[in-house]
Symmetry: C2
Subunit: 593 residues, 2 copies
């Protein structure tokens, strides 16, 4: 079955949750209408359904191959990538100053979702290029921007992110790759990087590696890292790819999923590198790329969940087994009619819609943070930064659940590879790992965004939620039900917050024992909050007589979220406030090393 | 890394949770001691570690192959199977009347766990043979027992279970395979069966298929099914395999996991079948085999979880990243020291130990039900039947979670196939599907074991739990904490029960919307109950100065279960009693067919 981009729901999210009115009033975007946005996404959706979604099974079966020198993807990937570049899709969210379409970030987020629903292996390449563009745009020199940005934004060149080394995964302070300054101001970069997504391939004319390395006199740990541009082909004076640089692929990994996306081990041997910004500030620049990539990986979670949902729904409407449990008929009915299959389908759908709402809302704040007035930026930036680890983790951890439910709905068929849904289950498994595991996102949330200001920003987040509760309390019975569930979840967050902050001074281990639970709680709550806003928007639509069927379903899905998913916040609170003890208990000799 | 059978924990469970004193006093088992049991399991554990655990990666890489006629497994499987048979391991739980070792069911359950931890693909073959033995033992004629049992119990022949057809999965009433009586009293069986585990292979001299089929005049639906023995080779007069029967493999499936276990499509073309018992009673006999298989599949869930846990623990103790969060050192420490990794490891371990406790306790009741006095049997049988769907679903659904955590702890390494833990994640995915999906188990629990007697048996189950609570309340602080959490979970079960029974008369769809949640709640509660009993036993051990380190860890793991897993019961209650509405809501046009 084919993927169909859920344009109606995406546009609902863009118009009602992404600060669309504010964003489109920004000078950068002044002439963009909803109609324009929808037309762009419609066209992109068509291209993705017809071209990219056809790659999923091919990519999984053939995978990418390494012949000792080159990494070759299936032919269909090259053809599709050429079309993607030719049609200019890479440029969609990027600044017109270097050839981009200059569309709002929410549209970029939507496009990332559509592309990755169609094929995650394919979608990773543009995703990393997006991150490299963001990093160069903010931290690159004028010359670097001139040399690289237009080609990256066009998609003719692609970008990569080189952090991990065998001994340095989550712990970047252990990076050993060396960068020694040459007489001409360039650097000689040497070392081994692993897990480099699209680290080598033939899709594009050049690959622009952004590489964390250490200069000889750098201080130890993360504060001694510098960031370098290391192009696969060093540029000629005319700006075109010239000589091959000293960076080579050693091998690619044999993975559980996303098999067409090559994961390379790269050996840098006196490769020519160009310093970005200043020495020893590399991690700070890399963080720009990481923020972008984390946000977009969260969207990959929504994307693969949507794809899994579409497959499961189609199967459940088609497959007939057993009469209905209420015996309203003696004939077997489509399994979508059985209460438990409905439960699973609605769970999938509610998690997809919650993740989408959260990610598109965050895109709006990211946009205001970057392109808004000082006032807009000051207000949007902290909330956007608070939400990015939530988007990354909520949407990716839930993708495991959603793709697993997709398999379950298919029964025995789900376990057969040809059905296609097992692939989503495999592909999704990387999402809570790469670009910072869930635990790393939790450290980010807890350390940087909760403990550092003693919960001030987190309290601001809850007061925004309270506003939505108040609005919901003036609405329909369903809106009131939702408000009550949201309030309970928000209170669970606040109790947890108080407990964690209270422990931080004398029992920091107990605080961190609750790191992932508070992240999961916050992600659930944040997505629920956005679905609460969706109810308000949908009820307004119904009052105005617009999109009645769609709006009713939106409200119904949100109600499922309120009754089945928001209550998990209370469980996480119990774990956080009553469960540290049993995690840190000393009796676990088997954990001692 | 190699698998090591957790003999100490298994023996703890057998001695303290499997009604061991009662069981070993039965006439059938009168001369068995704990020392015997441990010696047997020790020997089996060694064999499995050395021989079977070596198959896991080979089986996954090579898989089983179909050449158009024969199904060939990797050579190592044939060698290992021959050894398994030669050492007599298949006979472990079976009656001495037909050559079995005649050991208690709890030992059989433990052996199934150890074998399936070592390799699930391998373990499936003996598992199905066990089920065929159980069915023939209870429903076969004297002649059938004489013809088949000794060979099956020795492992020289293997058994299969033929239910599913393309149009008949969960809905067995749709089975179309025909059986027409021949003049000699045998039947000509014709039809297509799918998903037949070990339906064709060369490991054994014969394969004994138990096949559900329909005689020409049979009533429609499940009440018109009869059960037949269809041997791959019809027996000669001397009882040895003779002529090839009319059953052929058409293809085998290409699956997400358990790739060495061949899943066959079998075509029956006037195959000679032998009726078991009476016509039209087939489902009732097949249910014996299904009960056995469901119970043992639950144990497969514990088994693969244990294997995943051992890998994750070894990795977490070895892999060093980042200094501790409490800054007690500036050096990177083993990740097992980081609170969140501890949380994940303990979650894995608590789920393994909970599942093991539940399954070994159930084995004890199954034993008393079958081999006990009338009084023992009357008391044990209902509770055993109540628990089997819980064992099947709790242990298998949790295996998805545990194997996923195993991947997560490995970080990027977890996604690389060579690490081996991704295979556990793939292999485990079949468990909540085969031998009746989780939804089918939920229908069994709700329909047959809750609604039919209006909750009487379920209330008996809760009163047993209350007894354990009372005993725990007289123990240590930890025991009291556990008792309180257990009481809360038990109350959640009772409220849910009352709600579900209350809805059944006028709103049966609402009752069934809570079918899987009540199953999950009950499974969690039942496992928690057994861990509560474990605390009592462990505290008694400590008081007596026995196994102090082990007993302390047992209590600590149970406390983790109480603080992190039992509270999920409350969440399920909320979903059941407040969530049916949003599942059955009429606004979901997208679900209509």
């Amino acid at each position: 079955m084919t993927y169909k981009a859920p344009i109606e729901d995406i546009m609902f999210n863009i118009e009602h949750l992404s600060s669309w009115a504010e964003v489109t009033e920004l000078e950068t975007y002044s002439d963009i209408t909803s109609q324009d946005a929808e037309a762009v996404l419609d066209g992109f959706g068509r291209f993705c359904s017809e071209t990219i979604a056809e790659l999923t099974s091919i990519g999984d079966t053939i995978g990418s191959k390494f012949d000792g020198e080159k990494v070759i993807l299936p032919d269909e990937f090259k053809t599709a990538y050429d079309q993607f570049v030719e049609m200019g899709w890479q440029s969609l969210p990027h600044s017109t100053s270097h050839g981009g379409m200059g569309l709002p970030r929410a549209l970029g987020a939507a496009a990332t979702e559509i592309l990755n629903s169609s094929d995650m292996s394919f979608g990773l390449c543009p995703l990393l290029t997006d991150g490299a563009v963001d990093a160069l745009m903010l931290a690159g020199s004028k010359a670097q921007k001139d040399h690289y940005l237009e080609k990256l934004i066009s998609g003719r060149w692609t970008g990569t992110m080189n952090l991990t080394e065998p001994q340095a995964g989550s712990d970047l302070g252990r990076v050993r790759t060396k960068a020694v300054k040459n007489d001409d101001g360039t650097y000689a970069v040497s070392g081994t990087k692993i897990y480099i997504t699209y680290g080598e391939h033939e899709l594009s004319e050049n690959i622009i590696h952004l590489v964390l390395a250490r200069t000889p006199d750098a201080p130890p740990g993360p504060k001694g890292l510098s960031l370098f541009i290391v192009p696969k082909f060093v540029l000629n004076d005319d700006g075109n790819p010239g000589e091959r640089n000293g960076v080579n692929c050693i091998s690619i990994e044999h993975k559980l999923g996303i098999k067409a996306s090559p994961t390379a081990v790269l050996e840098y041997d006196n490769a020519t590198g160009f310093l970005i910004g200043e020495e020893n500030h590399g991690l700070q620049y890399m963080f720009i790329m990481m923020m972008s990539a984390r946000f977009l990986v969260g969207i990959q979670g929504v994307a693969i969940s949507e794809r899994a949902y579409q497959h499961a729904l189609a199967y459940a409407k088609d497959r007939e087994q057993s009469p209905p449990v209420d015996r309203s008929s003696n004939q077997a009915v489509a399994i979508a009619q059985h209460p438990d299959v409905r439960r699973m389908l609605l769970r999938m759908r509610a998690l997809v819609e919650g993740g989408r709402a959260l990610s598109i809302a965050t895109a709006g704040w990211l946009d205001l943070a970057k392109n808004g007035s000082d006032e807009q930026s000051n207000s949007a930036k902290p909330i956007a930064e608070f939400l990015v680890p939530l988007v990354k983790s909520f949407c990716t951890e839930r993708a495991l659940e959603v793709t697993s439910l997709g398999v379950q709905i298919h029964g025995g068929m789900g376990f057969i590879e040809e059905t296609g849904v097992a692939q989503f289950y495999r592909d999704a498994r990387i999402l809570p790992i790469y670009e910072g595991t869930t635990a790393i996102q939790a450290n980010d949330l807890l350390g940087r965004k909760i403990l550092r200001d003693k919960g001030a920003l987190a309290e601001e987040f809850t007061s925004l939620i309270k506003e939505t509760e108040t609005q919901l309390q003036t609405g329909s019975e369903q809106a009131k039900m939702f408000a009550n569930k949201l309030a309970k979840a928000r209170e669970a967050f606040q109790s947890s917050l108080n407990w964690l902050i209270g422990q931080a001074e004398n029992n920091i281990n107990a605080t961190y024992a609750g790191s992932v639970p508070i992240l999961m709680l916050a992600g659930n709550l944040a997505a629920g909050w956005q679905l609460g806003k969706s109810i308000l928007a949908a009820e307004a639509e119904i009052t105005q007589g617009n999109n009645i069927a769609f709006s009713k379903e939106k409200i119904a899905t949100a109600c499922f979220y309120a009754q089945h998913i928001l209550p998990e916040c209370e469980l996480e609170k119990t774990r956080i406030t009553e469960g540290a003890d049993s995690i840190l208990n000393a009796a676990f000799a088997h954990l001692e090393t």
